[in-house]
Subunit: 283 residues, 2 copies
């Protein structure tokens, strides 16, 4: 909803709202899957909404994109093949491709219009789309993972919208089983896992579904994300038994710049607040 | 402003907004200093607003109160005398008094009505108000610090509202000079320092004023705080030359429970994201 020039997202699940002051609506498209809107804000650059939910702002998307990619890529010993399910704004793809060892990164988002809008209004997120290692598909991510060759992928990153609408099927056992089969034995699944303050039940339920699919070790990493409900978000990593020690020396010597991620931020995120650890049975 | 049963705070400085779904307004008082309102929310317990700005919710205040107190108290070698300027909701006082070594904690808030409202709607924050070590004053914090005996205080915590209105005088050189004089040589000043994403200029300006007042070493610690603009907040510690290594073993063995603060969270917060470190000249 909007009030004069303020644009709000009322997040019913948690009874909290996030908003930005905007100058004008720049674009709007109803794709076969969802409504995508772009606003020009006064202080946050451009803002993309999908079905009324804030997805990306120019100003703060680096937090999410860096944390969805670098912790997993520095945890895997030598990631070469990465699949991104969702992620149509291409920001996660850009971060993944910063790792020189990555040989192939497939991005499979069901909605081509998200990428077309990103190219137009968030061109900086799409600057690696022409990388020879990138393959950008517009297709059903559930089918893509189901058809993936077994043991062919090092890291699957599920960069999805909330678990309602098109993304609902990306949070259940059947999908996670496909990911488990596609991943090599030392592979890592990464899923955006919502707010650690108000959606702990969702994180627990998601981990339970991952567990039913065969994953046995989990790590939830919190990070700030102002444009998402409560301003505090998380990603969850799942593996087939391995731990989550990461290549700290490599992370410290990384050959690219970041705005948020560092080896120390990574280590810090690994220490969960007691109320989160307790809820997740790690306390 | 409110829309049906949603209550928003439009934060003009950063062009962002925070909101909560509420059932009803429980109370309202216009004190000589400010308007205090209490709402019952659907998911966040009670919410206190001062002059339209979200101050405290039942659900998430632990983040702020723990981070305003424990990092400083575990950084000081043996804090005995603590002064809290502002902090009328008494939540910071409660956390300070969890430290058995503290012999005296003075809370000086200019507005008695804040404490009266907290006693009624946030009684859990006031549960240590009867502690024999607590002294609760309703007076001008600027005058209190100016009149403090030199070298008499171990830690000053400035738990204030934003630097407009009654709290404006708590962010400048004159006030920080009073704090500097009142603090012992190994003392620590703690100031809530707003959002590390959108208010870096304020943090820099505040550090500059602290510097003019004689403080020479600084540490800004970010933490999540959903009810404040952007959901990402910070406190800044200032000292007279000493560093910020903390009593890690004591923090690990602390004789009280916390929901957010741990020694590892403290260490994690000490590692600033590169964009913050760079802006503060620590990169």
């Amino acid at each position: 909803m909007t009030d004069a020039n303020w644009l709000y997202e009322n997040f019913d699940t948690a009874g909290s709202a996030i908003g930005f002051r905007v100058n004008k609506k720049l674009d709007e498209v109803q794709s076969p899957f969802q409504k995508i809107e772009i606003y020009e804000s006064t202080d946050w650059g451009n803002v993309m909404l999908i079905d009324g939910a804030m997805m990306v702002t120019t100003r703060d998307n680096f937090l999410y994109h860096e944390m969805m990619s670098h912790p997993a890529l520095f945890t895997h010993a030598a990631p070469k093949t990465v699949v991104i399910i969702g992620g149509g704004d291409c920001g996660t793809l850009r971060e993944v491709l910063r790792h020189p060892g990555v040989e192939k990164a497939v991005q499979c988002d069901i909605d081509e219009q998200v990428t077309r809008m990103a190219e137009k209004y968030f061109p900086e997120l799409c600057e690696s789309n022409g990388d020879a290692r990138a393959e950008i598909l517009f297709d059903d991510g559930i089918a893509y993972m189901a058809n993936c060759a077994p043991g062919s992928v090092d890291i699957v990153i599920v960069d999805s919208t909330d678990p309602v609408g098109p993304a609902e099927g990306l949070f259940n056992k059947a999908f996670f089983e496909s990911c488990h089969r596609a991943l090599k034995d030392d592979g890592i699944l990464v899923q955006q896992s919502e707010s650690p303050l108000v959606l702990l039940d969702l994180i627990k339920a998601m981990r339970a579904e991952m567990g039913k699919a065969g994953f046995t070790t989990f790590q939830t990493l919190p990070f700030p994300q102002p444009c998402y409900p409560t301003g505090w978000w998380s990603c969850t990593l799942a593996r087939k038994g391995q731990g989550f020690d990461f290549r700290e020396a490599d992370a410290r010597a990384k050959p690219f710049e970041t705005l948020y991620y560092t080896a120390d931020i990574h280590k810090g995120a690994q220490s969960l607040p007691p109320f989160v650890a307790k809820a997740l049975g790690e306390g």
